[in-house]
Amino acid sequence: MNALTQYLLRLADTDMVLAQRLCEWCGKAPALEEEVAMMNVGLDLLGQARNWYDYAAELLDDGRDADQLAFRRNEREYRNLLLAEYPRGDYAVTTAKQFFFDVWHHRVLTRLSGSSDERIAGLAAKGLKEASYHRRRSTEWMLRLGQGTEESHRRLADAVQNLWRFTYELTDTDAVEDELAEAGIGAGNVGDAWRAEVSRVLEQAGLDVPEPARHFYLDGKNGKHTEQLGFLLAEMQYLPRAYPDATW
């Protein structure tokens, strides 16, 4: 599989897995307004996932379509960021998770909207409008929870601590990303901008900024995941796997 296809699958899988985690919130959000907002963010991400899958499927040209890429690949083939698969937890975990992702996503799509690959540039520019709203929303919630009550502060601090170890995937790049960045196609490394913005918001929320996270064994971008992803996929892929000849 060439670098571009891998890169597209990483983007698609990350959006897909995050959207799936947001779907788990259905009927369980802390307020009706948040039901609407989380479903809205999930819809945006799923729509973006579909666009990236479509493009990846064309490049792969092996007869698989977007649905087959989403619903028929197993956990070793999935290339999402580890952060995305982390269980939804309480609202602090979901808030911190979305926030870390949103800052990264916003930077990545900003750069991709200037990609030399016109298809990528077009999709990124469209996604960027959505990602800007997501980033604004999750930043606001970081401040609300960080500065809100003692309990919300404590929960958010715990969430940041638990999730932080996965953030090296947002700040470090691998050979695939470097190759595409050099070719003017990929977003390259957005680590510095990510760290600066996240630190600023954490400080504003009254939270400590941890030392930069370092790579440790797991590698979501290349299919080496936590134990959580298998269960997520088992649920999400149940129908297409159980009825392989069905049309939905």
Binding site: G27, P30, E35, T149, M236, T247
Partner: protein
């Protein structure tokens, strides 16, 4: 619509002569099809009836997300997942603006929701049934949203302005959901495997009668209808709407290539309507009393969402207050 058996608190209808000047003026406005707005005088019974009906309607939109949420994480394709997410998002939105309409009558959203969680008020009987296969997502869209539309279209002309206007938007979105639901079933029947076709028929078998019950008890057992009709909250009787729904649904059922679990269902040349078998009202009243397949779980889930989210709402309030204090 998702309101059944709304108590109007009135035993008999008053004539215009029996009314005081304010009430007579109100009733004359209603009779002349002038909308009643939040600041207008209205009889206490009218206000209470509307609060009961609109809150029950709003609760049903919110509880109604749960049977679909049951399949949201297992939707079988990107397209179906997007559609279902959008539908559920619409329902949360319907709940929000119905609660807003209700609040124009002086009721409080949080208080009404607490009443639901304490079991003091109802949500539509249909959402106490479990969703057991993906085909249920199609059956709910087609039959449940279909029945809701038949009930809600006349509510667009309800005498209470805010409720009528909310219904216009709700109906538009629900027609869309109904077509999508039907398309889910049609795809499975036309392009699907034998197993999928069985899933569709099974879903129809399970949702057929509960959908007919959505219109509420038959007219001779519906003590509150006359007052609601006089107030023009309600425009048609339960049986009339049920028949209308059935007449439009049976041809769609046939086009699908499926059958109804009702051996007495047949076209009647003389009346120009479909005849149908007896509804098991015992089941309906049992469900309303809480003797239902998943009613307890639905309320538990809603209650725990609100209970577990309390610290989040508290944080948002505390933060807003701090912002206000530092701006002052």
């Amino acid at each position: 619509m998702y309101a059944q058996q709304v108590d109007t608190g009135s035993k008999s209808l008053k004539t215009l002569d029996e009314m005081g000047p304010e009430e007579r003026h109100f009733q004359e406005k209603v009779n002349a099809e002038t909308k009643i707005e939040p600041k207008n005088w209205m009889p206490d019974g009218y206000r209470k009836t509307l609060i009961r009906q609109i809150s029950q309607h709003a609760h049903s939109e919110i509880v109604g997300m749960l049977p679909e949420g049951n399949w949201l994480t297992r939707a079988p394709s990107l397209k179906r997942k997007l559609q279902l997410m959008a539908k559920i998002q619409d329902e949360a939105g319907h709940g929000l603006y119905l609660y807003s309409a209700m609040e124009t009558l002086g009721a409080d959203r949080d208080e009404e929701i607490e009443k639901l969680h304490r079991g003091e008020v109802k949500f539509s009987s249909i959402f106490t049934y479990p969703t057991l296969s993906w085909a249920d997502m199609g059956a709910i869209g087609w039959l449940v949203d279909g029945a809701a539309i038949v009930n809600q279209v006349p509510l667009q002309r309800c005498s209470y302005g805010p409720y009528a206007r909310a219904m216009i938007r709700v109906c538009k979105e629900e027609s869309f959901h109904q077509r999508q639901g039907y398309e889910v079933l049609l795809t499975m029947m036309r392009e699907g495997t034998d197993e999928q076709k069985e899933m569709v028929q099974d879903a129809i078998n399970r949702f057929w009668w509960p959908s007919l019950m959505m219109f509420g008890p038959s007219d001779d057992n519906s003590p509150n209808s006359a007052q609601s009709m006089a107030w023009k909250i309600k425009r048609h009787s339960n049986d009339e709407l049920r028949q209308r729904f059935l007449d439009q649904t049976v041809p769609q059922l046939e086009f699908l290539g499926c059958t109804a679990p009702d051996p007495d269902l047949k076209w009647n040349e003389d009346t120009g309507h479909y005849d149908f078998g007896a509804i098991d009202w015992q089941e309906f009243f049992d469900v309303l009393k809480g003797h239902s397949p998943t009613g307890i779980e639905r309320i538990q889930q809603r209650k725990s969402a609100i209970d577990e989210g309390r610290w989040v709402r508290d944080a948002a309030v505390a933060y807003a207050e701090k912002q206000k204090a530092s701006a002052a």
